[in-house]
């Protein structure tokens, strides 16, 4: 059938019918796992495979807090290869370019199904090329929490890389030689997996401020090194020098100021890209100049937010994952730098999530269409390059959702008749800010009204589309293959789009 963003969804799946639909559904919660009386300590991953009889067809989960510096998923893959376990279902919260062992296991049929929220690099490429024999399901961060707590995704074994573990099996990521900060994405796995195994390189007597509650932990494996902290640094921490990016960032901050949303007690979230960092800097300037103090910033936290917390520009930071080492350090030492779980962050069924308390969010887009539907899952050719992460969660929950992007990236227009993949529905995108004008979603009459007498260059999204084509020429339409390799699952468990083989 065709869902409400005009996408084909196979009849055996629930089609997306609107970002508010979840309000008509009831929260489903399976029982949390039985608490353990005793945690066992093991010396190798192999030992855990033997002890818990990890076998073909099982579902194994991981988190991605060590990002590109994670060694645990790689090592688990080695054991799987050695034992040649077949038809495994992998559910890492994200997949990074360094997780190369997954590629081999996909090609040999050891891994046949994957649930994840974000992926890029070689794994993304091999799946795009159709090598995963089962299906890829792309979730949102909040949606993954819902998926696990409802039992829709049953995890047999959760491997949780945990930088420091104590004798009772409690854990934290805030320090240790492989510190990665908060472990927000692992909390659902911890509470609902059949078996929970922490993998660590540092065992201490007692942890003062635990994030991982040892009573859920079945086993702790100590290995030499669980990861490389430097690998968590997400791209650049330097401000963009790109003049177009800076222009867009400046315009974004001026619009926010004009709309009056940068006021005492406000809250915000942005991505970690270079242009987003520039937006944060400009907002900081406005806050200092106008003497404004916000209540919180949230999300993946970067050094620039840490600086603003220390400057007392925000009361608190809510951190689901640390994007750099300054954030790790701050989470460790600053009591106002708080961890949140993926569920507390953006689960549609959780009460009073951080996402739902956001005044505004600034997001990116790989593509956007004339109805404001955004794609951050695939590129314009259809190759997997990312995924929602928290995109669809915060776009829906925040009071104001702004997408910023240049209109042209290496001649390819941002605005399409139809995006390759719908990640976030257009009804949740309020405004698009580009270097050649600002388009407001026509369903936000209030924003149009507020800005109509301002000096901002307001145009329709169709006008921006036309301006772009005048510069680039009209791109040829890419025909998708008919072979479905996976699905984009919306946060409520319905399906918003299919992913096609290249």
């Amino acid at each position: 059938m065709i869902n409400s963003v005009n996408r084909f969804i196979p009849d055996n799946l629930i089609a997306y019918q609107g970002s508010d639909e979840y309000k008509n559904k009831k929260r489903i919660l399976i029982d949390k796992k039985q608490k353990q009386l005793k945690t066992v300590f093991l010396n190798s991953i192999e030992e855990a495979f033997d002890l818990y009889n990890i076998k073909s067809e099982m579902c194994l989960s991981f988190h991605h807090h060590l990002r590109n510096g994670d060694f645990v998923i790689q090592k688990v893959c080695e054991v799987i290869k050695e034992r040649d376990l077949k038809n495994l279902h992998f559910a890492p919260s994200s997949i990074f370019p360094s997780y190369t062992n997954i590629v081999d296991l996909i090609k040999t049929g050891n891994i046949t199904d994957i649930h994840t929220n974000y992926l890029n690099g070689p794994v993304a490429k091999t799946i795009s090329e159709g090598n995963l024999s089962g299906k890829l399901i792309m979730n949102t961060h909040g949606g993954r929490a819902r998926l696990i707590e409802s039992g829709d995704l049953k995890i047999n074994i959760a491997f949780i890389a945990c930088p420091v573990v104590d004798k009772l099996g409690n854990g934290t990521g805030s320090y240790g030689k492989s510190a990665c900060g908060t472990l927000g994405y692992a909390i659902s796995d911890l509470e609902y997996a059949d078996v929970v195994i922490l993998v660590t390189d540092t065992i201490v007597e007692k942890i003062e401020h635990k994030q991982i509650d040892g009573s859920y932990v079945d086993a702790v494996i100590q290995i030499n090194q669980i990861g490389d902290s430097n690998g968590i640094i997400s791209g650049t921490t330097k401000l963009t020098k790109d003049p177009i990016g800076l222009k867009i960032a400046k315009e974004c901050s001026m619009i926010l100021k004009e709309l009056g949303v940068i006021k005492n007690g406000f809250s915000m979230q942005t991505g970690a890209g270079k242009t987003s960092l520039a937006v944060v800097k400009y907002i900081r300037d406005i806050m200092i100049e106008d003497g404004i103090k916000g209540s919180f910033a949230s999300g993946g936290i970067t050094a620039s937010y840490v600086q603003m917390l220390e400057e007392n520009l925000f009361d608190k930071l809510y951190d689901v994952q640390c994007f750099d080492l300054e954030a790790v350090e701050s989470y460790h030492k600053n009591k106002n730098h708080l961890a949140m779980s993926a569920s507390q962050y953006g689960n549609p069924f959780e009460n009073n999530t951080v996402a739902s308390r956001l005044s505004f969010v600034v997001l990116g887009a790989a593509e956007i269409d004339l109805d404001f539907n955004v794609n951050v899952t695939t590129d314009s050719m259809g190759y997997l390059i990312g995924g929602s992460g928290g995109h669809a969660d915060i776009a829906h929950e925040a009071d104001l959702t702004i997408v910023i992007s240049p209109l042209i990236k290496s001649r390819i227009p941002l605005i399409k008749d139809e995006v390759m993949t719908v990640t976030t529905p257009g009804c949740d995108i309020d405004m698009l800010i580009t270097e050649r004008g600002i388009a407001i979603n026509p369903n936000r009459l209030d924003l149009l009204e507020k800005l109509k007498n301002s000096h901002f260059p307001l145009v329709s999204i169709k006008e921006l589309y036309d301006i772009t084509h005048k510069i680039t020429g009209v791109p040829k339409k890419i025909l998708k293959s008919s072979e479905i390799i996976g699905y984009v699952e919306y946060r409520d468990g319905s399906f918003i789009d299919c992913i096609y083989k290249i």
Binding site: S380, K409, S410, R411, I412, T472, P475, K476, I478
Partner: protein, 85 residues
């Protein structure tokens, strides 16, 4: 054999190489070929026609250049080839 080269492989630019040949041959390697191959080829052909140039082998290594950039690089490459006797 006379050769002319112009442009770069920076983003939004292209590197054009023109060589003497016994027939006109156009090779386009573009990061945006899927969307703009035809347009790039037409630009090259039109420019050759405008300049009344035949029997050259043209290679365009494109990083998302706009048509006027491709045209400019091609003109420079041809002029460099013809000057470079």
């Amino acid at each position: 054999m006379r050769v002319g080269v112009a442009g770069s492989k920076e983003s939004n630019d292209c590197l054009v190489t023109v060589k003497e040949s016994n027939e006109t041959k156009i090779v386009i390697e573009s990061v945006v070929a899927a969307f703009f191959y035809d347009q790039i080829k037409a630009t090259v052909e039109e420019t050759l026609k405008e300049m009344e140039i035949e029997n050259v082998s043209v290679t365009v290594e494109d990083k998302g250049a706009l048509d006027y950039t491709i045209k400019s690089r091609l003109i420079s490459a041809i002029k460099r080839m013809t000057l470079d006797v």
